[in-house]
Structures are given as C-alpha cells and as structure tokens.
C-alpha cells in the first residue's frame, strides 16, 4: 500500500461517505425539494472526492485529463438536471418556481392546461 | 439454346452451384434497403421485379441441388463454422424457397392494383411493399440458416416485417392486435435466444450440424459428463421450442393470431397465414429432426402431437361459429397448423420420411389454399363493405366465379382427392399405420369433416336467397369488381386442388440430403389408390355427407344456425376466449416450457 494507493483509499472512501450522506438525506428529508437539495449537494462533492482519489491511479496526462473532464461533465449535467427537476416539482405542486424563470412555469402549465383540460392528477 | 446451359453450367450443375445461395439472401436485403430511397411508387416496381428474379434464383437452386444430389454449403465471408456462419441448402429448404418466392410474387401481383399510391396513399404503399420484401428476406434467412443465432436474427427480421402488416390500415383495434402480436412474439424470441445462448455455453458452437455431431458423440459413451451435456442441450432445445411454439401460434398459444390475421388487409393476411407462420414451424422442424438425434425416444413428440390434435378440433369448431368470414378463415389457419404438428409423434423409424413428406405437403397445400381464401375474402369485403356472414346471404348468386374459387380452395383444405389435403391425410395415415399408432387417424378424419362443415356453411350462405344488403350493394361494387382480381386466387386454389396430380418425380426434390425420406415413392403409392372410385368414395363420402347435413341444417337461414349452435357454442367460445386472455396465454406458455423441459430431460 504505497502512498498513491493510500491517497486513493482515503479520498475514495471520503467520497463514498458523502454519497452515503446524500442517500441519508434522500431518505430522511420530508419533501422533494429538500431531498433534491441534499442529493445534488452531497453527490457533487462525493463525485469530486472520488475523482481526486482516482487521480494517482490514472496515467499522466491523458488519464487525469479524462477524469477531470468526467468531473466537469458530472457537475454540468447534475446541475442542469437538478434545475429541471426543481422546475417540474414546482409545476406538480402548482407553486411558482423560484427565481426569474417564473414565465417558464406559467407558459408550461398553460401549455399543459391546453393539451389536457381535464388533467386531474 | 445450347449456349445458355454451357454458360450457366458451372452454377446449375458444376462445382460453383453453392454460390447460388448468397444472392438468395442478398437480393431481398438489397431491395429492402433501396425501397425507401425510391419512395412509394418505385418500391412497388422494385419489389415485384426482385421477387421475379428471386423466383428464378430459387428454381435455379432447386435444379442445382437435384443435380448435385448433396447439400449445398456456402461459408459466408470464407469463415467456416464454428467461428463463421454457413448457409446450407437441402431438399425441404429448396422446396420452401421456391414456394415462398412464387407465393409472394403472386400475392404481390394480386395486390399491385390495391396497394398503389392512387388507392392507398404513399404511407401504406411504401410500407406494404417493404414489408413484403422484409418477410421474404426473413424467410430466406430461416430456410438457409444453419447457425442458431443467425436464425434468431432472421426470425426478428420476419417478426419486424409481419407485425406492421397487421395495422397497415391504422384502425384502433388493429394497433391493439399488433401490439399483442409483437409482445408475445418478442417473449418467444427471448426464450429462443436464451436457448441458443445455453447451446453456445454447452457446445461452444451454434452450428446445427456440429451440435448434432457432438450429441451423437456424447450419446455413445454413457459417461457422467455425456448425459450432463445431453440434458443441458435438451433443456436449451425445450426453451427454443417453446419460443417457436409461441411464434407459430399453435393452440393454446394462439391469442394473437385471430385478431391479427382477421384485421389485416387481405394480401397481408394471405402472407401472414400462408408463409409467416410456417417460417417458425420450419425452425421447429430443424430443431427436433436435425438437431436432436433421438426424438422418438423422447415423449415430447407425443406432447406436440397432442397439441396438434387439440388445435385441429378446437380451431375447426371455433371456425364454424365465427360471424365474420376473415375470422373464420383465420381460425381455419389455427386448425390447419395442428396438422403440421402431427409430424413429431410419427417422425420415427422408416415412417419418419413419410411423416416429414406429409408435413411439408401440408405446408405447401395450406399455403396455396389459405392464400387464395384470404384474397377472396378481401374481394368480398371490398365488394360488400363488410364480411359479416349474417348479412351476406346470396353473395354467391351475385359473384358466381368467386364462389367457385372458394369451393376449390375449400375442397383442398377438406382433403378431397386429388388435392394436397388428401395427400397429407393419406401420408399421415400411412405413417401412423406403419407405426401402429392408430389413434392419430381419427383426428385426421374428424379434422376433414369439420373443415367440410364450415365450408358448407359458407356455401349455404352463398346460395341462400339474397338478403337486402347484398342486392343493394351488388349493383354498386360486385358487378364492376374487375375479373383480373380472380386470376391469382383461382390459380392458387387450382394448384392446391390438383397438387396430387403433380408427377411424383418432382417430389424427389424433398429427398435430397435427407436420409430415408423417400417422398416420391410415398406420394406415388398414395395417388394410385386415390383415383380409383373406391379410394375416392371412402375419403370423399363422409365429407359430402357432413356438407349435405350442414346445408339442410342451415336451410332456415343464418340466425337459425346461430340459435341452434348457441348451446354448445357458447361454452366453447367462452373457453376459447379465456384461452386468449393475456394472462392465461402467459401461464400456458410457462406451463408448456416446464412440461417440455421435463418431457425431454426425464
């Protein structure tokens, strides 16, 4: 267990811990929004730590660059999906989604209403 | 003329005859890929021309095969099994190639008038002609294939081409029928694929001939590992066989066939009933006869034969009670499929060849007669706007020629000499007598009588005094329906009716590369006794009697028939409708899988 393996073991297990924390948040928190919040926070951090942990295992320079690219993609897609989920959750509850994109919710719910006047759910 | 054979010699008789195999697979695929580029109009011409070239190729293959008197094998890409995939042509495969190409060409010519852009619009026209090529490609792949996974992909091409034919017209009920057909066929394919995977795990090869050799080798030394190999192989074949039973719609796994074949447009129903269902049967023929060395020792043959008899009885009885003509014909398909499965209990010893000849004859004669019946049903539907028998009284008076063709096709199904049906029943009877298994014979006779019954019912409706709706629309459509719409059905019905008169030497095509078939001699023997007055009467007599009974019984009109049969009918219809519930069919599929697994391994 030389230095690199030790470094990897520590960081990857830290990352795993944050994933576990995210999972606890998912299970414990009362409503969807706070679950979403906990999950995206913890998982992003967990992913970052795992990626850092794997750095010494990857070959210099391209292996490491691929890992960083992986992390960037993970953060970008995680953020965008969290936004979309939050918008959808607000739509389901009928409340105005926070922030400037209120018009999006109004237009979508109107579009939703035109297509499905009797959309009882 | 002498120059032509010299140029073509090496292919037809010489060493290069195996090179005829890959164009048979490549031609439909090429047509399928060019059709969307040519658009709806071009697709029709492309399909018909490639089918005619394909028919010529199939006939050339048959000639080359008889000349070589040995199976033609072609290694694709130059790689031989087990790594590569090989195509192999033997007698039955050549027969099926010729039948498929000829029938698709004839149905295509018949449908050319209906499926063109002016009548059907661009969507249905492009779809129909591409699906015709897709069915042809799938079937050619099935008949030539020797590799179990290659056969799986060929079956998927066939299923992907058959399912959309059901909902070409776009009515809600047809989409439902198409979805059920697709999902049930996919469950069948998944079971087949699982069986093929286990075969690869046990033998390390997917080539049927190599697996057969391994099984023969494993059978000799009765060592511990040997019967482990044998049991795993039999379990894999049980999986594949169950999957194929679901795709062949052998009763009780028939939930998807009546709505699918009943709801599809007429040419599509003809292709589905006559050819598509036979493809998966042919694969069962390969599995149980080519791959398994000792089928007779297993009692799975009895199981399949029993299901065949069940299909003959229930299918014919349900056909008797259908209100719509196309559904009547669809149920008659289910019954006729039962005859095919009588092959498996009788396929042992010397009589195995005769039973195999009977099964292949049934495939040919049913394909011809059923295609003709469905095309005629389409003609009646087009003429009167509906096919409810209750309101078609007297259509025979308005369309006498159509009635004549129905009579010819019906008699071929009933099995009057010299029709194909008669050949099938006599050959099966001979095989059963040889084996001493007398109990199959009454099933054959009863099936013939019941077919005579529903044929008589159609005739009774046809000749009854005209009801109001027939006369009204008669003036509109029936009289003006073009006579050329009758040419193809009449030709098909004629071939089915006079199949027995074909010189027996032609049947020797089926013997090539199949030891102990001897079909030419068997057919010749059967036909001698057929044309004698005594032979004619003892087979035709009972059918005539039943027909007469039905006509009298129906004298009082269709509704009377409904009331009289109601008592017996409702119970039976209830049972059959229950069998076609999705859950029941699923449970039966699993039961059949477990029973086949137990029957082979035990």
């Amino acid at each position: 267990m030389d230095l690199a393996d030790g470094f990897t073991a520590i960081f990857v297990s830290l990352g795993a811990f944050f994933f576990f924390a995210g999972w606890v948040g998912l299970v414990r928190f009362p409503d969807s929004l706070s679950r979403l919040h906990a999950l995206s926070k913890a998982d992003n951090l967990g992913l970052g730590l795992v990626i850092i942990g794997l750095m010494p295992q990857a070959s210099w320079p391209f292996g490491m660059l691929k890992l960083v690219a992986l992390w960037l993609l993970g953060v970008l897609i995680g953020g965008a999906t969290a936004q979309m989920l939050a918008g959808a959750i607000h739509l389901d509850d009928g409340r105005e989604p926070p922030g400037g994109n209120g018009d999006f919710a109004r237009r979508t719910s109107e579009a939703g209403r035109n297509n499905e006047p009797g959309a009882a759910h | 003329m002498m120059a032509l054979p010299a140029a073509v010699g090496p292919w037809l008789a010489g060493p290069r005859s195996a090179e005829l195999l890959f164009p048979i697979l490549a031609l439909p695929v090429l047509g399928l890929l060019l059709a969307p580029l040519l658009g709806a109009r071009g697709a029709r011409l492309l399909a018909l021309s490639s089918l005619s070239v394909g028919l010529a190729l199939a006939l050339a293959c048959a000639v080359a095969l008889v000349a070589a008197d040995a199976p033609l094998v072609y290694a694709l890409g130059g790689w031989t099994a087990p790594l590569g995939v090989e195509l192999r042509l033997d007698g039955p495969a050549a027969l099926m190639l010729v039948l498929t190409a000829a029938l698709l060409l004839l149905i295509g010519l018949h449908a050319a008038g209906e499926f063109n852009v002016r009548v059907m619009g661009r969507r249905a026209t492009l779809a129909f002609w591409m699906l015709l090529l897709g069915v042809w490609a799938g079937l050619n792949g099935l008949y030539l294939g020797r590799d179990l996974f290659n056969l799986y992909v060929a079956i998927e091409v066939l299923t992907f081409s058959a399912v959309p034919m059901v909902c070409l017209k776009g009515h809600a009920e047809q989409f439902g029928a198409a979805f059920r057909y697709l999902l049930f066929a996919l469950l069948g394919s998944a079971l087949y694929l699982l069986g093929a995977g286990l075969m690869l795990g046990v033998h390390g090869t997917l080539d049927i001939a190599q697996i057969r050799a391994a099984l023969d080798a494993a059978a000799t030394p009765p060592g511990g590992t040997a019967n482990a190999v044998r049991e795993a192989t039999l379990a894999a074949v049980a999986l594949m066989s169950t999957g194929l039973l679901a795709k062949t719609a052998l009763m009780p796994l028939h939930l998807w066939l009546p709505p699918a074949h009943g709801g599809a447009p007429a040419p599509a129903s003809a292709v589905l009933s006559a050819l598509v269902v036979k493809g998966s049967f042919f694969l069962l023929f390969r599995l149980w006869l080519d791959l398994i060395p000792d089928l007779p020792a297993l009692n799975v043959g009895l199981l399949l034969g029993g299901l065949g008899v069940f299909a003959i009885l229930l299918g014919n009885l349900m056909a008797l009670m259908q209100a719509r003509l196309k559904l009547l014909v669809a149920y008659s398909t289910l019954a006729q499929l039962g005859y095919l499965f009588l092959l498996f209990p009788l396929a042992s010893g010397t009589s195995g060849g005769t039973a195999a000849t009977a099964a292949l004859m049934q495939v040919v004669s049913h394909a011809l007669a059923k295609a003709s019946l469905f095309l005629i049903a389409g003609r009646i539907l087009a003429a009167f706007g509906h096919d409810r028998l209750g309101e078609l009284n007297g259509f025979g008076r308005v369309m006498p020629l159509t009635l004549l063709v129905i009579l010819a096709a019906g008699l071929a199904l009933v099995g009057l000499p010299p029709s194909g049906g008669y050949l099938v029943k006599s050959l099966y009877g001979g095989a059963a007598a040889e084996l001493g298994a007398w109990w199959w014979r009454p099933a054959l006779e009863l099936g013939g009588l019941l077919s005579a019954a529903y044929l008589a019912r159609i005739l009774a409706v046809a000749v009854r005094p005209e009801s109001v709706s027939v006369t009204a629309s008669a003036r509109g459509h029936a009289v003006t329906a073009p006579l050329r719409g009758l040419v193809v059905p009449a030709l098909l019905a004629g071939c089915a009716l006079f199949l027995g008169l074909v010189p027996p030497a032609l049947f020797s095509l089926m013997d090539v590369a199949r030891p102990g078939m001897g079909s030419a001699a068997a057919v010749a023997a059967v036909m001698q006794s057929a044309l004698t007055p005594a032979g004619f009467w003892n087979s035709a007599g009972p059918a005539m009697a039943v027909a007469l009974l039905i006509v009298l019984f129906l004298g009082a009109g269709e509704s009377a028939w409904g009331r009289r049969v109601a008592v017996v009918g409702r119970g039976l219809a209830g049972l059959e409708a229950w069998l076609r519930q999705w859950r029941t069919a699923g449970a039966l599929l699993l039961c059949l899988l477990l029973i086949q697994g137990w029957a082979t391994v035990a």
């Binding site: - | 890959f22 490549a26 890409g77 130059g78 779809a127 591409m130 909902c167």
Partner: protein
C-alpha cells in the same frame, strides 16, 4: 485489451447481483408506471456495471448507452404520453400465485442448467485470436461483429433501418408529410436549453471517438452511434432543432447508407475476396473502417428517429399528467 484487475468476486459481485435483482423486483411490483420507468434507467446503469465486472467492456458501453440511456428516454416519453393506463384487472391471488410459482420454476430450472454447464467450457476465444490478424482489428469483439459473423451484423442493421420505416408507417395517412412529434413537450426549461447548447459538441467528439477507437479498443459503431443519437435527442427535446419530416430524402439516405454500404462491399467481396461478405487481403482495414463509419451514421440517425416516434399532426398526441387514474379495462 486493458488488464482490469478483478478483485475477489464475493465482495464486489454478490452485493451488485442482489442490488440488480432487488431493483428488478421493485420495478415489477411498484405501483406507479412513472416511478418504474425512472427506476429502469438506473437499472440499466447497474447492469452496465455488472457487464464491466463480467469483463465485457464493449457490452457495458452498449448497455449504458442503449439500455440505460436511450431506452430510458424512450420509455419516459411513452409514460409522459400514456400515463399509467391500467388495462388489466387487479391480479386475483390464486392466479397471481400460480404464475409466480411458474416463473420461480423457470428461473430455478434455468439457474440449475447454468450452474450445471460442463466445467471445461469449449470456447471460441482461441479461434478468434488465431484468425483476428486477418481482419487487422485489435478489438476481438469488433473482429467478430464485422468479419466472422458479418451476416448477423448486416441483418441487424437492416432490422434497424426497417424498424424506422415501419415506425413511420404507424402514423396517420394525413400526417405522412408532417414531422415526428413524440418529443414535443411544451416549452423546455432554460436549464435544458443550456444543457442542449453545451453538451452536443462534447457528445459529438465522444461519439466519434468511440467509433474510431472501436477498431482496437472497446467501443464501436453501435456505442458511438448511440451517443450521437442521444445528442440529437437532447437538441430536439430542447427545441433547438426539430426531427426531419418523413419524406426528407437525406434522412432516408442516412438511415440506409450503413447497411447498404455493408451489403455492397460484401457483394464486392465475392469478386475481390472470393466470398460474400469477405474482405480482400490488400485493403481490409480501410474497407472495414468505411463500413463502420457508414454504420455509425446510420445507427445514430436510426436510433434518434426511433425515439422521435411516428409523424403526427400538431396536437395529435396527448400529454397526460401521469396520475395513476384507474381507467379500467379499455379497448
């Protein structure tokens, strides 16, 4: 092939196998269709990890891209359109139990057969290695797909092209000129639009790389095509672009060019290499790369159009809020 050190199976595979089986059971038994479909995308990724554990990296890529990704989008669009339209009555206990026992019997029998497979399995690994040099391909799976079992891959890409045209034929007659509309879900969220602007260039590079590296390392036209198709779907979902109309010539050419190129080169093989679907020794690699490039394009176009659905007139497709309303047995 990179040598992936596989640790002691007990710790890695047993939990994963239980997770896959547990998730599959949950997917089957949970009430809401929408939850099941969302769970299915996660299931696809879990199975992809199982494939890596089995040492089949090519299949893991395909499972993740196709089984997890595109299948998830396909089923999600379906559940958005259909809601959970229950059309079978609640299963009666005895019937439910019987079918459960039958399925258990099938699974147990299958497990016994799988475990009972002969211990010294004859395998084709040696045969592939011997002949792989003739194909000049480093990746054995690509060699099997494109050379040894070329006819299966050809027929399979024909099935894909046929499936697209068949899918279009399900549309209504008057909608034949229209565009596929299965992906129209009203105004996209700004986050989706941002993603659809940033991701496709990256996806394009990854897709082409997957195809290009497929010759010598895990990857290939199917995996590359699936990633490219996913990018096209992202653009269509974010309404930055629209799926092409059915009558567009270039689209049809795009669908057909892969299998057509494969078939024509195969036919040329009869003259050049003496066997249908054979490759001449002189320039095997260029021909194979040409076929795989055309196949990547065709797979990408076909997979994207298969998810985009049949052509439909605007407003023809319902968008159901997926409450699990009991609509009873429906025709």
């Amino acid at each position: 092939m990179p040598e992936i050190p596989l640790p002691d199976p007990r710790w890695a595979d047993l939990p994963l196998a239980f997770a896959v089986l547990g998730l599959a059971l949950w997917l089957t038994l949970t009430r809401g269709d929408r939850a099941a479909v969302i769970g299915f995308t996660g299931y696809g990724l879990l199975v992809a990890v199982a494939w890596v554990r089995l040492g089949s990296v090519d299949v893991a890529l395909t499972e993740a891209a196709l089984g997890g990704g595109l299948m998830g989008v396909l089923l999600l669009t379906a559940v958005a359109r259909l809601g959970s339209d229950i059309d079978q009555p609640r299963p009666s206990l005895p019937g439910d139990l019987l079918i459960g026992l039958l399925c258990l019997g099938v699974a147990a029998g299958l497990a016994v057969v799988v475990l009972g497979l002969p211990s010294s399995p004859p395998s084709l690994v040696a045969a592939v290695e011997d002949h792989q040099a003739a194909t000049e391909l480093g990746n054995p799976v690509a060699a099997v797909l494109i050379a040894f079992r070329a006819v299966d891959t050809l027929l399979e890409s024909v099935v894909l092209a046929l499936a697209v045209i068949v899918l279009w034929s399900f549309g209504a007659d008057r909608a034949w000129e229209a565009r596929p509309r299965a992906l129209d879900f009203g105004e996209p969220s700004p986050a989706l639009v941002l993603l659809a602007r940033l991701l496709p260039p990256v996806g394009l590079i990854v897709g082409v790389h997957l195809f290009w590296t497929g010759a010598d390392h895990p990857g290939g036209p199917f995996q590359g095509g699936a990633v490219l198709a996913a990018m096209a779907l992202l653009v269509w979902l974010a309404r930055l672009g629209r799926p092409p109309p059915v009558t567009d010539g270039f689209t049809r050419l795009g669908i057909v060019v892969g299998p057509l190129m494969f078939l024509l080169i195969g036919l040329a093989g009869v003259v050049l290499a003496g066997a249908f679907l054979g490759y001449p020794d002189a320039f095997t690699k260029p021909l194979i790369l040409l076929i795989e490039a055309a196949k990547t394009l065709s797979v990408a176009v076909a997979l994207a159009l298969l998810v985009a659905g049949p052509p439909a007139l605007s407003g023809a497709l319902s968008m159901r809020r997926t409450g699990s309303t009991e609509t009873g047995a429906k025709a």
